[in-house]
């Protein structure tokens, strides 16, 4: 009996600690300034098609201080790799020490896939995301909507909760979203450190969001 009570108590305590850590990690985002210590390592989640185009527009604007850049693409995505390589080659002229890698993980949600199977494949994608994020230990994760963002951001959050490293989660909602957030956006809104929207109607609905006009 005593063992059981102890086990329940331990579990509750762990959960409580976990929630407290989660709260602290999410709340301290704005005070964390990795840029003051040197280059900022970025994990960039490229989706497919339009998502990749948008995220590369954002990457184009970032200075050489954001190095190295680790791009994550879905293993079913053939187009994005070419786009990323072309983009990085054009950047190389500007800063000679350009460093980037491309990593592949299973896609968590194909277009039109049902929600139930989405949950299963997202959990499956987490098996790949955790080791990847724990190995790369980026200073920030930059993403803009494809389902692949969720397991990667969760992995980044976990690094913070375990006290290994604070990973800033930067989310930019796609320009296609004018009135409603995407499913990925809704999931990441509460846990992201910087959440950008590109239309004023979304800023009005989501007070935590940052609106700087159209940025892609």
């Amino acid at each position: 009996m005593a063992v059981l009570v102890a086990a329940v108590f331990a579990t509750l305590l762990t959960c409580l600690l976990f929630i407290i850590r989660l709260y602290i990690v999410v709340k301290t985002g704005p005070n964390y300034k990795p840029g003051t210590k040197g280059p900022v390592a970025v994990l960039v989640v490229a989706g497919s098609g339009g998502h990749t185009t948008e995220i590369l527009r954002l990457m184009e604007s970032l200075s050489a201080a954001y190095t190295p850049r680790h791009y994550v693409i879905a293993d079913t995505d053939r187009m994005s790799e070419d786009k990323i390589c072309t983009f990085e080659r054009s950047k190389q002229h500007l800063d000679s020490e350009s460093q980037f890698t491309i990593c592949r993980i299973p896609r968590s949600r194909e277009v039109h896939q049902s929600w139930v199977s989405s949950v299963v494949s997202t959990l499956d994608a987490l098996r790949y995301s955790l080791p990847l994020v724990f190995r790369l230990r980026p200073d920030m994760v930059l993403c803009n909507g494809p389902g692949t963002c969720v397991p990667l951001c969760v992995a980044g959050l976990l690094l913070g909760i375990l006290g290994m490293k604070k990973v800033l989660l930067v989310y930019v909602e796609s320009i296609c979203r004018v009135q409603t957030l995407s499913l990925t956006g809704k999931i990441l809104y509460p846990i992201s450190d910087y959440f950008f929207v590109q239309w004023s109607s979304l800023r009005d609905k989501y007070p935590k969001s940052i609106f700087l006009g159209r940025i892609v």
Partner: protein, 164 residues
């Protein structure tokens, strides 16, 4: 030669292809001085032959790696409501008429076309009002579409992260 370029992106939109090549619509285009019609029909089942429209120079294809050249040559772009197609046409500085596929009512892609219409960056109609719109439209009301400013994002992030 004044050219109209019609694009449906990666989808199919047979109703639009059928409407734009109908005799009344072609007549409306001719009345406005358009002499050439280029159609990108995507996965649709209609791929009109060059001689199927006797009064206008017609050219149709399914896909190209890049539609940039066709956009560049166009004086008017007619597009489905897809966000990618709209942004590409507006980014090329073209007058844009978006034809909404009313059979796809809850498609979130329509959100952006609707907003861009409210901001006077494009004209907006359905297949059933296409001919009428082409006859009556006033392209001079359209406001130029300025490109987004990723630099604002970079400046914000530099400050927030303490990047020197």
């Amino acid at each position: 030669m004044k050219t109209v370029f019609v694009t449906v992106g990666t989808t199919s939109f047979d109703e639009l292809i059928e409407s734009i090549t109908s005799p009344e619509t072609v007549e409306a285009l001719k009345a406005r001085g358009y002499e050439r019609l280029v159609l990108q029909v995507g996965r649709g089942s209609l791929l009109p032959a060059a001689h199927s429209c006797p009064h206008i120079r017609l050219q149709a294809y399914r896909f190209k790696d890049s539609i940039a050249e066709d956009l560049k040559q166009a004086d008017l772009v007619i597009s489905h409501a897809g966000a990618g197609s709209c942004l590409e046409a507006l980014g090329a500085g073209k007058s844009l008429l978006v034809v909404v596929n009313d059979k796809l009512m809850n498609n979130h892609q329509l959100e952006m076309a609707r907003q861009l219409h409210m901001d006077s960056h494009l004209l907006y109609c359905t297949c059933s009002t296409l001919t009428q719109t082409l006859r009556m439209m006033d392209l001079s009301v359209l406001q130029p579409f300025l490109p987004g400013q990723p630099k604002n994002f970079a400046n914000f992030l530099d400050k927030a992260l303490g990047v020197q």
